[in-house]
C-alpha cells in the first residue's frame, strides 16, 4: 500500500527527515511513536502534500503511484486521508456541505456518480452518531467554535465518510479525555479493513491500548530507529526514548 524509501525532507534549510524507510501493507495498522521534534508530523504533512517542505531525496509509492508527484487534492482523490493534529476552522462553511463537497469531489475524480442528497444525509447522521458528534455540529461552520475533542471527532467522521485507502492520524489522541479516546478508537477500529491501511502517529502509548497496531515504529532524529510489535510500545512507555537515542547514535 505504502512504500517509503530513503525519504529526506527539510524546511528552511533545516533537515527533518534523514533517509526514512517504511513499508505498510494492505489492511495493516502501524503506529509511529517518537519524542517531540523527531519528525512525526513532518512525515504526515509531507505525505499529504503540504507545500512548505522541501523533499530533497527518496521516493514514496502509494498504491503503485508516485505519491510525491501528485498535488495535495490528487493524493486525496487517490485515497489518502490525513486526520490533522490541529484541524482548522472554516467560519461560515457549513460542516455538512463541506463533507458532501469533499465526498463528491473524490467521487467525481474517480468517475463515480455524486451521492444523492438523501443517501448522504442518512450516512452522515449515522456516522456522526457512531463517533459521538452532536448532530447540531453538522450544521455549524466546519470546526467553528468546536472544542478540541469535537474537532477530533469531526476528523474521524470525515475519515469514516470518505473511506480512504490510507488514513494517517496525526496525534488524534492529544488533548482527549479517556471517554473521547475510546470513542475515537472505536471509530478507527470500525474502519479496519483488508483494503485499508492506517498509520497512527502518537506520543503516548495509551491510545494503543484501544487501537492495537500490527507494527510499532520509533522515529528519532528523522529516521525509524526501531520497529517491532505492540510490545515495543509498552517498552517505550517504561523506558522513554532516551535509550533509543543512544542506540541510534
Amino acid at each position: 500500500m505504502l512504500s517509503i524509501k530513503e525519504l529526506r525532507v527539510s524546511i528552511e534549510q533545516k533537515s527533518i527527515l534523514n533517509g526514512l524507510n517504511l513499508e505498510i501493507g494492505s489492511g495493516e495498522v502501524h503506529a509511529i511513536m517518537g519524542p517531540n521534534g523527531s519528525g512525526k508530523s513532518t512525515l504526515s504533512q509531507v505525505l499529504a502534500g503540504r507545500e512548505d517542505y522541501l523533499v530533497s531525496g527518496g521516493e514514496v509509492l502509494f498504491d503503485g503511484l508516485d505519491l510525491l508527484a501528485l498535488e495535495t487534492e490528487e493524493r486525496a482523490h487517490a485515497g489518502l486521508f490525513l486526520g490533522m493534529q490541529y484541524p482548522v476552522e472554516l467560519p461560515g462553511v457549513n460542516n455538512m456541505t463541506f463533507i458532501r463537497e469533499s465526498l463528491n469531489a473524490l467521487r467525481r475524480a474517480r468517475g463515480e456518480p455524486e451521492l444523492d442528497a438523501a443517501d448522504f444525509l442518512r450516512r452522515v447522521r449515522e456516522q456522526a452518531q457512531l463517533v459521538g458528534l452532536d448532530q447540531a455540529l453538522l450544521k455549524r461552520g466546519v470546526n467553528e467554535g468546536f472544542s478540541g475533542g469535537e474537532k477530533k471527532r469531526n476528523e474521524i467522521l470525515q475519515m469514516a465518510m470518505l473511506q480512504p485507502k490510507l488514513a494517517i492520524l496525526d496525534e488524534t489522541d492529544s488533548g482527549l479525555d479517556i471517554d473521547a479516546l475510546r470513542v475515537i478508537a472505536g471509530g478507527v477500529n470500525g474502519l479496519r479493513a483488508a483494503d485499508r491501511s492506517i498509520i497512527v502517529i502518537t506520543h503516548y502509548q495509551r491510545l494503543l491500548d484501544y487501537i492495537e497496531p500490527d507494527r510499532v515504529h520509533v522515529l528519532v532524529g528523522g529516521r525509524i530507529v526501531r520497529s517491532g510489535d505492540k510490545q515495543l510500545a509498552l517498552e517505550l512507555e517504561q523506558r522513554g526514548y532516551g535509550w533509543l537515542d543512544e542506540a541510534a547514535a
Binding site: 502534500g49 490541529y86 472554516l90 467560519p91 462553511v93 463537497e101 469533499s102 469531489a105 470518505l162
Partner: protein, 482 residues
C-alpha cells in the same frame, strides 16, 4: 511570498464579463457643464418649471463646493467639462413606451446581460426598470402592479404623471446641499426609478432596476425615490454593469427612501460596474449617496449590498431612525481586487426612542485592492434606549492588499448601547491545505471560504439575487488561485 499566496494572488486576473458595447443611434449632449446644459436636459424631459429651478439652484451651490478629500481613495482630479451629461438611445416612437417601440438592439443588450425585458421570459415575480445611460427604456409588469396601487415607473415619467408625489419627497432625504456628488446629481440627474407603495400594501412582486452605462465619455446620474406609506412593504433590487473602456466614467447617483409608520423597505444592490483593467486603467467611479429616512414609528429599512465592481466605490447607504422603534440595517460585502478601491460603509442616525440598528460589513481584498469600511453611529440626545450592533470583518487574499476600518461613534444619550466588533483575517495556508487534503481544488476551497465569510450578508438577499451574488463572487475571485 510563499507558494500558496503566490497562487492565491493569481485569482485576481479574471476578465470582466459584461464589457461589451451596444452600437446605437443616440441623442447625446456634447461634453461640458453649464446652466445651458442643465436647461437642455430639463427641456428634453419637458420638466415643470419648479424642477428646472431646483436643478439650477443645486448647480449654483455646487459651483461653490469642492471635491471631498477625506475618503481613503486616490484618483486624478475629474474634469467635469469633459463629461457628457446626457445620452439617450434615439426613440423610435412617441407616447407611452411599449416594448414594441424599444430598439431591438437594446432589448438584445439586456438579454445578453441576463435581463429579459419581455414579461413572459422574465423571472417570475420580478419587475424590471431598465435604465440605459441617461434614460429608462422600459419598465415591465406595470399593469399587475398598478392593480395593487403600486406605482413603478421611470423618474421622468413620475415627474409627468405624479408631480405632486415627486415634489413632496424629492430632495427631502438627501438635500442638494448634502455633499459634492449629491449636489451635482441634483443639478444634472437624468433618469432613474420611482416607486410608491400605498398605505397597507404589500408589493406583490420584487421591484428592480438594472442600470447600464454604454456610451463613452458620459456620466450616469440617476435618481431613485422610493416612498412606502404606512404599513406597506417593498423589496427592491438594483444591478449595474458597464462596457470596458480605458477612460474612467463617473456614476453619481442619489437614492432616497422614505418609510412611514410600520413600513418596511428592503433595498438590495449587486454592483458590478466595470472595475478597470489589471493596471488600473479605466473603470467606473461609483460615487453614490443613498439614504433612507425611517420617518414613521416602527418603520424599518434594510440596505444589503454586494459591491464587486467599479474602479472606486464611495458610498454609505444610511438610515435616519427618526420614528420611535424604527430599525435600520446595513449588510455589505465589498470586494476589491486588481487596483480597485472601495471606501464604503453606512451611517445610522438614531433620533427616535428604542431605535435599533445592525451593521454587518464584510470586506474582501485581493491583489492590490484597498478596502475601507467607514461608518458612523450617532445616538442623539433623544434616542432613549437606542441600540446598535456593528460587526466589521475583513478578509485578505495575498499580501499586497489592504483593509482599513474607520468607525465613528457618537453617543449623546446615556441609555444608548453601541457595540462594535471588528476582525481581520487572511485565507490561511492551513485552511487551503485542509480543504485540498479533503479533495477540493484550491479554487473551490477559496470560493467556499469566501462564501462562508459572506454568508451573513448573502442570506439577507432575495433568493434569485443571492445565487447571482454568489456566482458573481466566484467569477470575481476565479483564478485568484490555480
Amino acid at each position: 511570498m510563499n507558494a500558496t499566496e503566490n497562487r492565491v494572488t493569481k485569482l485576481v486576473q479574471k476578465e470582466y464579463e459584461h464589457g461589451f458595447t451596444t452600437e446605437l443611434e443616440t441623442d447625446t449632449l456634447p461634453p461640458g457643464l453649464s446652466e445651458e446644459t442643465i436647461r437642455q436636459i430639463s427641456a428634453r424631459k419637458n420638466e415643470p418649471e419648479w424642477l428646472l429651478e431646483a436643478r439650477l439652484k443645486a448647480y449654483r451651490h455646487w459651483l461653490n463646493m469642492s471635491d471631498p478629500e477625506w475618503a481613503h481613495v486616490k484618483h486624478p482630479p475629474i474634469d467635469y467639462q469633459a463629461i457628457s451629461y446626457y445620452s439617450a438611445p434615439k426613440k423610435r416612437g412617441k407616447g407611452p413606451k411599449s416594448l414594441d417601440e424599444v430598439d431591438p438592439a437594446l432589448i438584445a443588450a439586456y438579454h445578453k446581460l441576463g435581463i429579459p425585458l419581455q414579461e413572459q421570459k422574465a423571472l417570475a415575480g420580478v419587475a424590471v426598470d431598465a435604465v440605459f445611460d441617461s434614460v429608462s427604456i422600459a419598465t415591465t409588469f406595470r399593469e399587475p402592479l398598478a392593480k395593487a396601487g403600486v406605482i413603478f415607473c421611470s423618474f421622468s415619467e413620475a415627474v409627468q404623471d405624479h408631480p405632486d408625489l415627486v415634489r413632496s419627497y424629492f430632495g427631502s432625504v438627501v438635500p442638494y446641499t448634502d455633499n459634492y456628488y449629491a449636489c451635482l446629481n441634483a443639478a444634472v440627474f437624468s433618469d432613474g426609478t420611482f416607486v410608491y407603495i400605498p398605505k397597507g400594501v404589500r408589493c406583490p412582486m420584487e421591484l428592480s432596476t438594472y442600470f447600464r452605462i454604454n456610451e463613452a465619455n458620459t456620466g450616469q446620474f440617476e435618481r431613485t425615490l422610493i416612498v412606502a406609506e404606512a404599513g406597506s412593504y417593498v423589496s427592491y433590487l438594483e444591478g449595474c454593469t458597464a462596457p470596458k473602456r480605458d477612460d474612467n466614467q463617473l456614476h453619481a447617483a442619489v437614492v432616497e427612501l422614505v418609510a412611514l409608520a410600520d413600513a418596511r423597505i428592503k433595498y438590495s444592490t449587486v454592483q458590478n460596474w466595470y472595475p478597470g483593467d489589471a493596471e488600473g486603467r479605466g473603470g467606473i467611479y461609483n460615487f453614490v449617496t443613498k439614504r433612507g429616512d425611517c420617518r414613521g414609528d416602527r418603520s424599518h429599512i434594510s440596505w444589503t449590498q454586494v459591491e464587486t465592481g467599479s474602479a472606486i466605490t464611495w458610498k454609505y447607504p444610511s438610515c435616519i431612525l427618526r420614528g420611535d422603534g424604527a430599525r435600520g440595517e446595513f449588510y455589505s460585502v465589498a470586494v476589491t481586487r486588481g487596483s480597485q478601491q472601495a471606501d464604503t460603509g453606512t451611517k445610522m442616525i438614531h433620533m427616535g426612542r428604542n431605535t435599533k440598528s445592525t451593521i454587518v460589513s464584510k470586506g474582501i481584498s485581493a491583489g492590490l485592492g484597498q478596502n475601507t469600511y467607514r461608518g458612523l453611529v450617532r445616538m442623539t440626545p433623544k434616542a432613549e434606549n437606542a441600540r446598535n450592533h456593528t460587526q466589521c470583518d475583513s478578509l485578505l487574499i495575498g499580501d499586497k492588499c489592504g483593509a482599513h476600518t474607520f468607525p465613528y461613534i457618537e453617543v449623546k444619550n446615556p441609555s444608548a448601547k453601541v457595540e462594535h466588533e471588528a476582525t481581520t483575517s487572511r485565507i490561511g495556508d492551513d485552511q487551503l491545505f485542509y480543504c485540498r487534503q479533503r479533495g477540493l481544488s484550491e479554487e473551490n476551497a477559496v470560493s467556499m471560504i469566501v462564501n462562508g465569510f459572506c454568508k451573513e450578508v448573502f442570506r439577507e438577499l432575495p433568493m434569485e439575487f443571492a445565487v447571482e451574488a454568489q456566482k458573481l463572487l466566484d467569477l470575481t475571485l476565479e483564478g485568484a488561485v490555480g
